[in-house]
């Protein structure tokens, strides 16, 4: 794990420019929002997630996350079918601020087009560079 400015970026994940991380776990993929995203949103008070069995499409909103001041669509980095939805996040949205890469994962999906779609995502080092460019831009 490295820190760019105040933002954590763990190794071993892939990242989208819509503030998502993904972790390939065998046939499945776990996903959630990044530390950078949760820090920009600040105290998260509401999360709207789809149900298990629904499908998600790459670059398409599937839910939203809301803080006192801000709101953001959750834009899926991959296409696939949802296996598990993290109910703990919907009942305790504040865990997104506490542990965005850990217990506040959002979905586990079975990806339908992983190999092709993975290429559009950033690996760890690209993500570090991208975060640095965000900080530089101010």
């Amino acid at each position: 794990m490295v820190k760019v400015d105040d933002y954590e970026i763990p190794e071993g994940l892939h990242y989208s420019k819509d503030w998502f991380w993904i972790k390939v776990e065998g046939e499945k993929v776990r996903m959630g929002i990044t530390d950078y995203a949760q820090k920009q949103l600040r105290e998260i008070v509401f999360v709207e997630l789809p149900a298990a069995g629904d499908t998600v499409s790459a670059n398409t909103p599937f839910g939203s996350v809301e803080s006192v001041k801000a709101v953001s669509d959750l834009i899926s980095p991959l296409s696939g079918t949802i296996d598990q939805v993290n109910q703990e996040v919907t009942s305790k949205p504040e865990i997104l601020n506490e542990d965005p890469f850990g217990k506040a994962w959002l979905l586990i999906i079975t990806p339908s087009n992983l190999n092709a779609e993975l290429g559009a995502l950033m690996d760890f080092s690209k993500s570090v560079d991208w975060h640095k460019s965000l900080i530089a831009k101010g």
């Binding site: 503030w19 950078y36 995203a37 920009q40 949103l41 939203s64 809301e66 001041k69 801000a70 709101v71 953001s72 669509d73 965000l134 831009k137 101010g138």
Partner: protein
């Protein structure tokens, strides 16, 4: 088709308006327009950068560009709005490359702020005369200091004038403050409280001249000083803090009604006289909760609250803005000055009969190291015996007392409620008897004797 919301402006009121609009309508197209290079920064922080408390002006930017990305807000910097057409529902813009554009809107939010006002005094076109509103303004002042300015005159002892004067003094500049009225911070403090602040500033080496009318800026190309009430005061730089005027030019041209305070007239939903057009922040009026009259608040805290209400309504939601009490706080060197509601002078001016009480105390138990003096004045309306204002000066523990009184005033708290209020205590933090309760008791005695 998604609702199109255009926000004219991109600072305190604007960003809160746009954020609230996004929360109320997840699909709307929301565009913010500013002529400035920087958006979403704290203007209130500028004097504290001059004073060296904040490293650099760009640290004042509250919202990084990714905030707008996450919120899907379309921010356009260096894009000036040149015209608003409320019949055709369009705004016309010109960017810094000279490219013009016409943007259609369904709902418009005007957050054009206020501009520093410099009266037509001889010599006002000279170089080295600064007003303080933008980061550019602040940078020019710092540049003048780096180029060797050693002395400054600040014209106007209002909040901004004094904050900048203190900042200049902290930057090592020998600073003179010139005020036309017989006291400093005339819109906030009564004369007795203002005198305390003035004495403190003078012990810090600041030169304060009251009842001086500025007659001329002197110098050939570059300002070399001023003449005020016949007296020549030399200075390497001059800050003109006469006050600000709501920036209503675009709105007026568009037929939007201006109120008696020269700011844009709005209803409780921050809507102007033209349906679907809202205004918020320094360019808009607010109703004062005690006088029930429109007032131009010109405070960042009001701007963000009004912006939130305007944004929610512009996006089809429902929100109202209940009004203002003019609660304000600032820090000069190590002294905090706070105010809420009406002071004695303004209470009398609007026809109320005020009783006041003042009390001195300490910010911690008297035996606890570091206890500092603090002074509280309250203003009570004689017939209903309600608290209508407070002024507090102290090294610490001022801000939240002001907020507590402000909330009490909004709930129509009487001086008896305040005297009997349940309060906290621990030696490192306050005295056993809360000062607000003691000052309320003092006022009650005056009411009953």
């Amino acid at each position: 088709m998604p609702r199109r919301i255009v926000v004219v402006g991109a600072h305190a009121a604007a960003v809160d308006a746009a954020s609230a609009a996004r929360k109320a309508d997840r699909k709307a197209e929301i565009t913010l327009l500013t002529a400035e290079k920087y958006a979403g920064y704290s203007r209130c922080g500028i004097p504290f950068v001059i004073g060296g408390h904040i490293r650099k002006f760009t640290d004042l930017i509250v919202y990084p560009s990714t905030y707008y990305q996450i919120m899907k807000l379309n921010l356009r910097r260096e894009t000036k709005v040149t015209n608003i057409d409320t019949k055709a529902n369009v705004v016309e813009t010109i960017d810094n490359a000279g490219k013009t554009e016409t943007l259609e809107y369904d709902n418009l939010i005007i957050t054009t702020g206020a501009n520093p006002f410099v009266p037509p005094i001889k010599g006002r076109e000279l170089q080295g005369i600064f007003t303080i509103r933008t980061i550019d303004d602040g940078e020019k002042v710092l540049q003048a200091i780096h180029q060797g300015a050693k002395t400054a005159v600040v014209i106007g002892a209002g909040l901004i004038g004094l904050e900048v004067a203190v900042g200049l003094a902290e930057a090592g500049i020998k600073t003179t403050i010139v005020e036309m009225l017989p006291q400093i911070i005339p819109t906030m403090l009564d004369t007795d409280m203002a005198r305390d602040v003035q004495e403190m500033l003078e012990t810090k080496g600041m030169n304060i001249l009251l009842e001086k009318r500025v007659e001329e800026f002197i110098g050939t190309d570059h300002v070399e000083g001023i003449i005020a009430s016949g007296e020549k005061i030399k200075a390497d730089l001059v800050v003109a803090a006469f006050g600000v005027r709501p920036n209503t030019e675009l709105a007026e041209k568009a037929g939007i009604a201006i109120g008696e305070t020269r700011a844009i007239r709005v209803n409780a939903r921050m809507e102007t006289n033209i349906r679907g057009v809202y205004a918020a922040g320094d360019c808009a009026e607010a109703i004062h909760m005690i006088t029930q009259r429109p007032a131009p608040p010109q405070l960042g805290t009001v701007a963000v609250k009004q912006g939130k209400v305007a944004g929610t309504n512009a996006a089809g939601g429902y929100a109202i803005f209940p009004g203002i009490l003019g609660s304000a706080v600032t820090k000069f060197f190590d002294t905090v000055v706070g105010v809420t509601g009406l002071n004695e002078y303004f209470a009398q001016r609007v026809g109320l009969d005020p009783i006041t009480a003042t009390i001195r105390g300490l910010t911690r138990a008297q035996y606890y190291p570091g206890a500092q003096p603090i002074k509280v004045k309250i203003v009570v309306e004689r017939e209903l015996e309600r608290v209508i204002g407070a002024q507090i000066i102290g090294a610490e523990e001022v801000t939240q007392r002001i907020n507590a009184v402000s909330m009490g005033i909004q709930k129509q708290m009487t001086v008896h409620d305040l005297a009997k209020s349940d309060t906290c205590y621990a030696p490192p933090l306050c005295e056993t008897w809360e000062l607000l309760s003691l000052v309320a008791e003092a006022a009650i005695i005056k009411l009953t004797r």
